[in-house]
Symmetry: C2
Subunit: 329 residues, 2 copies
């Protein structure tokens, strides 16, 4: 198993500018920015060496950035001390090779601002936050959402990605997202991963496309093509096949839509199986199969998929011969 990046460079990788950790409105983050899963040993302890190998694999997959501590990182299963360990490990080990987005969501605006400041101080290029919510019932008004993001923005200088996902019990209708972008200028990125994401992205691009430099697709890229057609400039996928997804995004952004369509339709059976049958466990299963990590364990009460689903995923993935199954061998 390799732990260095250079041996596994993919054919289309090349030198990267040194200043990628600093994003500017004229040089925004686009392309493929996978969520980095948090790696555990079989006893559920953090596996930081495993996490470092995942980062090397992702850099070799020619990702444009990575995102730590998202929901696909099982952020909801970590202590605050573990969050700090994971963020530090991701930032230290990527060491500027790619920009790092750190998720800093918390119901309390004050705590979200503190987390965001800490992420910036550690070297994060961007923070990502869901709107404030707790559980199934504690939601927040539209004005409360805007005030919340303003509190976060006041604590940092780096840009903010707002995450619009069904997990939040606080809804983000398009009108509120537009108000948010207009009233809190640091909100320059939006990851839309709710039903009918494409129309929402198109509405945002139409209304505030000049300020929102980073409309993003999410949700395992399962609606990537409609979202790119609607104006998305990047995708936040899992770490399962980010290299393969990156080619689709680059093709589309370069005007090679036919190639993007073909790539998306070819990959859809696999990412759809991930999205509907496995969730965040798919990336860990294939990384374990490919020798990148030693354990595919998730923290209880999130248990493994069934043996039949696991076998189906592995069989399907092998048809694609993806980097995730080859990098660690």
């Amino acid at each position: 198993m390799s732990t260095t990046s250079s041996e596994h460079a993919t054919p289309d990788s090349g030198p990267r500018p040194d200043d990628e950790r600093t994003l500017t409105p004229s040089s925004p983050l686009t392309g493929v920015v996978p969520v980095v899963p948090t790696i555990f040993h079989d006893n559920e302890d953090l596996d930081l060496p495993g996490l470092r190998r995942v980062l090397d694999y992702l850099v070799d997959a020619r990702v444009d950035g990575v995102c730590a501590l998202a929901n696909y990182s099982e952020q909801f299963s970590l202590t605050e001390a573990e969050r700090d360990q994971v963020a530090a490990t991701v930032l230290e080990h990527t060491a500027g090779r790619v920009p790092v987005v750190v998720t800093t969501s918390h119901y309390s605006a004050r705590i979200a601002a503190q987390r965001s400041r800490a992420a910036q101080d550690m070297g994060a290029a961007m923070v990502m936050l869901m709107p404030p919510f707790f559980g199934a019932t504690l939601s927040v008004s539209a004005q409360g959402v805007i005030d919340y993001f303003r509190t976060v923005a006041d604590a940092i200088d780096i840009p903010i990605m707002v995450q619009d996902a069904p997990m939040s019990s606080t809804p983000l209708p398009a009108g509120l997202l537009i108000d948010l972008v207009r009233q809190v200028p640091q909100v320059r990125y939006a990851k839309i991963e709710v039903p009918f994401a494409a129309d929402k992205l198109a509405t945002l691009v139409d209304a505030v496309g000049d300020q929102l430099v980073g409309p993003f697709d999410g949700e395992e890229s399962v609606t990537l093509l409609p979202d790119l057609d609607a104006g998305a400039v990047g995708t936040m996928c899992s770490s399962m096949v980010p290299g393969e997804l990156g080619r689709i995004v680059r093709d589309h952004l370069a005007g090679r839509r036919d190639e993007a369509v073909a790539g998306y339709e070819r990959l859809l059976p696999l990412i759809h199986f991930e999205n509907r049958q496995c969730g965040l466990r798919a990336q860990k299963i294939l990384m374990a199969e490919g020798g990148i990590i030693g354990s595919e364990r998730t923290r209880a009460p999130l248990g493994p998929v069934s043996p039949r689903t696991r076998a189906g995923l592995v069989e399907l993935a092998k048809r694609y011969d993806p980097l995730v199954l080859n990098w660690g061998r």
Copy 2:
């Protein structure tokens, strides 16, 4: 403003046994066990002296126990370090005068177990947990719920109260609660605060009443009388009028149902206003009005109620001349 307990003893208070921190199946916790709100200064910093005054007021209200770090304590707006500070303050300052329940919910079974063990080591008499969930969509299977509570039980010796509340996106149907009580014997208390709580309590008492020594009412006691009629032996209310609610519970448990009915119907307009118009802010408003605490601030994005609602609450509460408006004067 007083900070000692003895000056404000209510007429029906009396000596309490020394060993109340230890609950046994034959001597369970019953009666009134209010949630202790977490007190903040106007700048949202923790106000621990304010919290201590609240505890003295609650002891003087002749509560049978208190519960720290519940949702009405804004536990969702605290850092882990603040959780520890609050739990330590509550346990140190009550100093065995009443048993302390500490809420230790976390999505991760491992972290919930760690929190529960820490609470026991600090002197908690009981822990309370919701089933595992995150946000509006991350719910857990029935078997996953039982495994979760078994993991927590294996880490501690004190009893567990399961909290059945709409905030959780993991449902707890009566059949699952019955299985939970049967399979995890430390689950000896259940606070039911979902719609139709009374029928659920009656079903539980009928099926596992011998093991479930503490079927509890919750939700600001707004369904207290039907829940007592169904077999509840206690209520977990807010800290607004726990002394007044305690008399209703004691009357009912002593067979004086007519007095309990009269007391409940008299108090219902006030606790219903709390439940439907104010939520956790009602207790803080009246404590500030009564001079117990210096600030009624909640942490953003949870803001204040409207001025008209606040005025309505205070006007209504004055009709009852409750201890909360008099203790601090």
